[in-house]
């Protein structure tokens, strides 16, 4: 794992010289973030794994275009662009293949960081699926901003760097995304445990 920025820059320099092991150390450092973002944007684990793998291959081939700065933001930008390209490709070819349909049907709960009790896990999965469905209903641009901000916890400036847009656009998209997801969750909150219900009454 990459313990500090100096180590990260050293690994990047070695990777630029063609050291694949050094690049793989960077992959191990960021693959969880990359996969998590890909999953939230794509909505299923198979597509997320493909997008993550393609992103790291692209990163290795374009490593010479990295001009310093936040390497994590540079990697996550490639991840979001890869996901965006795949979503656009799906729009052009809406007919899903049998493999993709099978992947959707077999798609179980994503692997969380820790494993609670089965009952809690089932409840949590239900909630998570409801939230994920609401996020999936957002436009691509709003979904990406919400994933990066509210799930990955990135600052506005990091989101600006990753998406290559301006601060005002990020604020506007995030605000609309939150209002849309709130309305979506209010519509299905009867399905959720009472502690998760959105309270409209003060």
């Amino acid at each position: 794992m990459v313990s500090n920025p100096q180590d990260e820059q050293k690994l990047i320099r070695q990777a630029l010289k063609g050291n694949l092991d050094a690049f793989n150390a960077l992959v191990l450092a960021y693959q969880d973030s990359a996969y998590s973002i890909a999953y939230r944007i794509m909505g299923d684990s198979e597509s997320a794994a493909d997008a993550t793998q393609d992103s790291f291959i692209t990163a290795y081939r374009r490593l010479n275009t990295y001009r310093g700065g936040n390497f994590r933001a540079w990697v996550l930008r490639i991840v979001t662009n890869t996901c965006y390209d795949e979503l656009r490709r799906r729009k052009r070819r809406p007919a899903a293949s049998l493999d993709e349909m099978g992947a959707d049907m077999d798609d179980g709960a994503p692997v969380p960081d820790d494993s609670p009790s089965p009952e809690q896990a089932a409840q949590q999965n239900e909630l998570n699926q409801a939230i994920q469905d609401c996020i999936d209903g957002l436009s691509e641009s709003q979904r990406m901003v919400m994933v990066l901000s509210d799930i990955e916890g990135l600052s506005y400036q990091e989101i600006v760097d990753i998406l290559g847009t301006n601060l005002g656009t990020v604020k506007s998209r995030l605000s609309r995304a939150r209002v849309t997801v709130r309305d979506c969750l209010q519509a299905v909150q009867e399905l959720l445990p009472s502690i998760y219900r959105l309270d409209n009454n003060e």
Binding site: R40, D113, V179, E202
Partner: protein, 351 residues
């Protein structure tokens, strides 16, 4: 009722992204506006719900092996850079070829170009000069056959004038030796006939030879201008009332020389040399026989023309057409290559 800006303020307030003044203003409003407080509360709950989604672990390692890094390396002709370069080259070649063909077509079909307008101007100016020669020959030369020859030349000139409107490339080359040789010949004829002495004509011919020799320094543009000025002086010195045509032609040549293209100006020294040779021949003829022998000096111009035509203009016209055609063909080949490689790349990507 909240507007979009209010929701942006609330969203940024939740994330701690407002500056001090914005935050203070919003907190003042929150104390007095119930709707604003309710919206803030529900949005906060939403952010809390979304942010508690678990951070996912990668289901497997996404490290690369050497086989992945070496695969799918496209050869240069299949790259986007090659397509872009091909498309740019195609565009430039087609434009260049089209431009050359347009130039060539215009030169062959119309007299609107500056070169051909210059040609037409010279030929029109030439007509009164030849006419003047013929008139002088009729009035001054004693032999009747001289008058016939001059009349024939007038008729030839009448035939020639309509051709000036067509302004072919050959006539462009023809006109230049005419314009240079004719004032001298006019002067030769007038001087020789007026004096009636072969010796004087020979002297004039020697002066003419010197005049042409003086017009052969290495800088063609300045030489043409100076020779035109000299010609005008020669024409003025003839001092007959009909010499305005010759004077005007020399003046026109002086004005027309600066925009003269390189192909024409570079051919001038050759023609000047030919004119010089012809003038020496005339001088020898004038020395051998007196006045009756002079009218032929009015006709050496046609002997200059055929030698000047093929050397100066015919070959470049063919080359321009050929180069233009080849440029367009090569440009189309580049265009096809760019389209084909783009299509192949797109199909590979879709696959």
């Amino acid at each position: 009722m909240l507007n979009e800006h209010d929701y942006e303020l609330l969203s940024a307030y939740i994330d701690g992204e407002l500056n001090d003044s914005e935050r203070a203003a919003l907190e003042t409003r929150l104390q007095s506006e119930v709707d604003l407080r309710r919206e803030l509360a529900t949005l906060r709950q939403t952010v809390t719900l979304v942010s508690q989604l678990p951070k996912l672990k990668a289901p497997r390692d996404f490290t690369l092996d050497k086989s992945i890094t070496k695969s799918r390396t496209l050869p240069f002709p299949m790259t986007a850079a090659f397509s872009a370069i091909s498309a740019a080259a195609a565009f430039l070649l087609i434009i260049f070829g089209g431009y050359l063909l347009t130039i060539s077509t215009n030169a062959n079909t119309s007299a609107s170009s500056p070169i051909l307008a210059y040609d037409a101007e010279l030929q029109v100016a030439q007509a009164p000069m030849d006419t003047q020669n013929a008139q002088d020959g009729v009035s001054q030369a004693p032999a009747p056959q001289i008058g016939r020859e001059s009349t024939d030349e007038i008729q030839n000139q009448d035939v020639l004038e309509p051709e000036t409107a067509q302004a072919t490339e050959a006539s462009l080359a023809d006109s230049i030796p005419y314009a240079i040789a004719l004032p001298t010949m006019t002067q030769n004829a007038q001087t020789g006939l007026a004096d009636g002495q072969g010796g004087a004509a020979a002297d004039q011919a020697v002066e003419t030879t010197d005049f042409f020799a003086a017009t052969a320094p290495p800088s063609p543009g300045e030489d043409l201008a100076s020779s035109a000025i000299t010609m005008q002086e020669s024409a003025d010195s003839s001092a007959t009332e009909h010499d305005e045509g010759a004077a005007n032609s020399a003046a026109d040549l002086t004005q027309a020389i600066p925009p003269q293209p390189a192909a024409t100006t570079t051919s001038m020294p050759t023609m000047v040399a030919q004119a010089e040779e012809a003038t020496v021949q005339r001088a020898m003829a004038a020395t051998a026989s007196p006045a009756p022998a002079m009218p032929p000096t009015a006709s050496p111009a046609p002997t200059i023309i055929p030698t000047a035509v093929p050397q100066s203009k015919a070959a470049p016209t063919i080359d321009i057409n050929l180069i233009g055609l080849v440029s367009i063909i090569v440009g189309i080949i580049f265009l096809i290559a760019a389209l084909a490689t783009t299509l192949i790349r797109r199909r590979r990507k879709m696959a």
